[in-house]
Symmetry: C2
Subunit: 373 residues, 2 copies
Amino acid sequence: MKIKYELIKNNDKARHGILHTNYGSYETPMFMPVGTLANVKTLVPEELKEVNSAVILSNTYHLWLRPGEDIVQKAGGLHKFMNWDGPILTDSGGFQVFSLAKNKKKDITEEGVYFKSHIDGRNLLLTPEKSIEIQNKLDSDIAMSFDECPPASASHEYLKNSLERTLRWAKRGKEVHSNENQSLFGIVQGGPYEDLRKESAIETVKIGFDGYSIGGVANDGESKEDMYKAIDYSIPYLPEDKPRYLMGVGEPIDILEGVQRGIDMFDCVLPTRIARHGNAFTHSGKINLKNLKFREDFTPIEDTCDCYTCKNYTKAYIRHLLVANEQLAGRLLSIHNIRFLIKLTEDIRKSIDEDKFIEFKNNFIINYKKSSK
Amino acid sequence: MKIKYELIKNNDKARHGILHTNYGSYETPMFMPVGTLANVKTLVPEELKEVNSAVILSNTYHLWLRPGEDIVQKAGGLHKFMNWDGPILTDSGGFQVFSLAKNKKKDITEEGVYFKSHIDGRNLLLTPEKSIEIQNKLDSDIAMSFDECPPASASHEYLKNSLERTLRWAKRGKEVHSNENQSLFGIVQGGPYEDLRKESAIETVKIGFDGYSIGGVANDGESKEDMYKAIDYSIPYLPEDKPRYLMGVGEPIDILEGVQRGIDMFDCVLPTRIARHGNAFTHSGKINLKNLKFREDFTPIEDTCDCYTCKNYTKAYIRHLLVANEQLAGRLLSIHNIRFLIKLTEDIRKSIDEDKFIEFKNNFIINYKKSSK
């Protein structure tokens, strides 16, 4: 089936909804952990369920290169391959082509993007049709349209041409998309410009998708202000009855800012990436567990946290694992960090139900910024 | 309490027994997973329980250096520090001092061993008293006497002097050991020489310990034949009512050979170490999951295996994780490999009960050697 979005309650633009999927119904706003290479790094599906994960994300570009979409298809699709019986969203590969491709040399044509593999440098071509074909074989529940992700520094003129090509690509992708069990999202581009976001949003909605994403907001060099503008300028033109997804965003404050502007879905590698470097989210900001001050701190990362890590391990123990380069540290911190963001979305939904979202947001941010970092 | 060994059934020299510990009673022969730095690499205690682990091992030398025994003591001991509520055996640090110490430059004196830290090169002295003191602070259930681990190439004369010093060290260690909740094991040395093993065993038993270990069998360069001799020459002088522990041995065939000669306990980093390199134990030998032939092999490592990994993942998936350098591969393979060795000891116990140990052993080895490797 196609996903369905059901609005339960709104508090100004902030929305509490339900996303009905092939693998159950889940509340929004939601944070989606990222399983780049068909696994959320160091974790197994049971751990993702335990932190109350709903949709997880996987990367088309990475799976195309390794192990290849045909192998995933032969395995019975991505769910079976990675043993995940919840919903999966795959991105289009566009972001990685523009950010990872070897030496960043690439040739953007009407047909698609020619670039070199970041693994072995071989020449590759990703087109809107190819992206959809790969995502079909991966058999994700939500596929994304292939889009250009222009740099934050791109000019108005460049962005206008780019978003119009992205619209043509979106149409081509939709034309070849025929999987009735896979939803397809369109992506709004246009940088920080009101006229471009408006044009992109209106035209993308005209093509007609099962959900809409706001892209081009997690690029290197993008300012927070530009991100908020991108959302503010896009949301008014998106239908109320479809989910809105802010791609690549996972900083707690950004999630709150996104929700305030009407976003329903977020994803980011942040919780697992910072975990591998010893960082943990707390309600008073991020902390680095390698810090000497935690050497004899026999308390959990957060007393109030209900995650497996906080229920069973101390900061002193996690610091020890980090200092000794034990991989278990990254695993324990990943569990905590993902749970932190998912719990944040749970608290957000509650605050929307109580018409107290802004109060909740302001309190959260005051505490979070107390961080000495 | 001190541990107690209870013999249930023997089949010639092979013994099926029960080890009663501070943290429950467990059957022997047993394989003990190694948690070098207060964690069995990549795994959490729940996973160790799920594969039916009993005693786990942790390394005094490593914990002395990082995080330091005082921090573990302040945490409430090793069990609490690492969240493991089963029995723990700590080694003496001797093996690491002789194998790991920086540049292998060390000065063995009657007092103890002067050497350089393998982490930062600082000068350290480990003595029999210090080893016991550290193990007391770690609060393991079973402590080991500090011994010299001479190289496989050592002469008869060297080994005789060495084992006699090890006996003096064992006495000194026992004298300072006063923890009523911690058992203390003696270690038999003497290389592959019958007269030396006999002398070492008789004199070690005279000192009187809660269990006896056969040491010097897992050194670089040690031959299998020398290992079997070391056991054969030591066992006759060890008391029936105490457990016998073969240190550092975990190859399936070596476990079988050890059991046949009267060994009750084994430990080894092998299952986790080979896991990180992509290797898995199977009943027809070790396989490397990176092998191209597993690319589209959508079956588990072993159909008959009851471990979490085999119940949920295919060889193709694990191969993909390995090729993509995902840490989850090592975690999944560690679970399988530890379960494999623990299941082997379970099958061994059953065969002893049925007076069919030799038949079981021979069948296992015939299949295991089928490996094309």
